[in-house]
């Protein structure tokens, strides 16, 4: 009986830690980082992994670059319009994030197609309209296939590739990017619980910019 008491006590004690820990969790910086020493001042600085410069075209035929996201937080993913398996789930979830950020202009969305051959500007335009989202908040971009794949792999550390038999493999993750172009989180875009965490993390990140 006494043992039972201690077991339940321990379980209770630990379960109480759960949510609190979640609240205090600081957003990580994903990717490789470098520690650099400033020779003149002697100060040590950490250089975190950053999203490279890029230049793609969106559903309105507008150039989209890192400048487009200057002073903005954004959520990025990789998809293609005719993808039958994980994309519909990802898009339902991304729309949920988009809808939850309706009241702020501080958060933008960036979806890269991994099938630029099919997903032309016109196809992306139609897709965005069918999704009923605003072009200035959610950019669907296309470009040269090599550029998109390379950008996905180096900037987002995402698996984006062809499977060798004409199919396409792309990560189902949503990436949270801060205003300094650092990757602050990667979430499973097909899992509502993981996407709930993303929504919380966006709000948490927004708070860090409040003056």
């Amino acid at each position: 009986m006494r043992i039972l008491f201690w077991i339940s006590f321990t379980v209770l004690a630990f379960s109480a830690c759960g949510p609190k820990k979640e609240m205090n969790r600081k957003l990580p910086f994903l990717g490789r980082f470098e520690v650099v020493k400033n020779e003149s001042t002697g100060a040590v600085d950490t250089l975190y992994h950053k999203i490279d410069d890029f230049r793609f075209v969106n559903q309105d035929s507008t150039w989209i670059t890192a400048e487009t996201f200057a002073d903005k937080i954004y959520v990025a993913d990789f998809f293609f319009t005719t993808c039958p398996d994980i994309c519909p789930k990802m898009k339902t979830q991304m729309l949920r994030v988009y809808d939850s950020m309706k009241l702020t202009d501080e958060v933008l969305f960036l979806s890269h197609t991994v099938d630029p051959k099919h997903d032309s500007v016109a196809v992306l335009k139609d897709f965005a309209e069918r999704l009923s989202v605003e072009s200035n908040r959610w950019h669907f971009v296309t470009g040269a296939k090599e550029d998109i794949y390379k950008h996905g792999q180096t900037s987002y550390m995402a698996s984006v590739m062809e499977d060798g038999s004409g199919g396409l493999i792309h990560s189902g993750r949503f990436f949270l990017i801060d205003k300094e172009r650092h990757v602050r989180g990667a979430y499973d875009g097909t899992d509502p619980a993981s996407v709930d965490l993303l929504i919380k993390d966006i709000k948490k990140l927004m708070k860090t910019y409040e003056k």
Binding site: P84, P88, D126, F127, L131, S132
Partner: protein
């Protein structure tokens, strides 16, 4: 006392036998159909059949009744034809999920009972006949 309990059990057992073989078959189709729907259809058409925005069409009872053959062929072989439901034209392709005729029959039976006033079973033999006539049009 004990005897009467046993009697009640036997009575219930006998009563449940009254549900016909057809009913049992329907229930089997419905259970399998629901599971298959969740696995192969709900990603796009959603669990409640509401579809998603103007990208993926809702499961529509009227459309189903009026276009049963097209629906069966679409589920069996996939389709790249557009379709219009309640004034909205949907253009994205439906993939070929490589389902057997029986699985297609189970799904369509489930659809017709859940989103239309389904009567009985749309059986595997009926599906087999329809599938023969699908042709190449719209095949993925």
């Amino acid at each position: 006392m004990k005897n009467s309990v046993i009697f009640i059990f036997i009575a219930f057992g006998a009563f449940s036998c009254f549900s016909s073989a057809e009913d049992i078959k329907l229930r089997r189709y419905m259970v399998a159909g629901e599971r298959l729907y969740e696995q192969h259809c709900s990603n796009c058409h959603q669990l409640d059949g509401a579809g998603f925005q103007k990208l993926y069409p809702p499961i529509d009872g009227e459309y189903l009744k009026g276009n049963l053959s097209q629906v069966i062929c679409g589920i069996k072989y996939g389709s790249s034809d557009s379709l219009t439901i309640k004034g909205v034209k949907y253009v994205l392709p439906m993939p070929d999920a490589h389902l057997t005729d029986l699985e297609v029959a189970e799904i369509v039976t489930y659809l017709s009972h859940t989103w239309a006033d389904g009567q009985g079973i749309i059986g595997v033999n009926e599906v087999k006949e329809i599938v023969k006539e699908c042709g190449d049009i719209g095949r993925q």
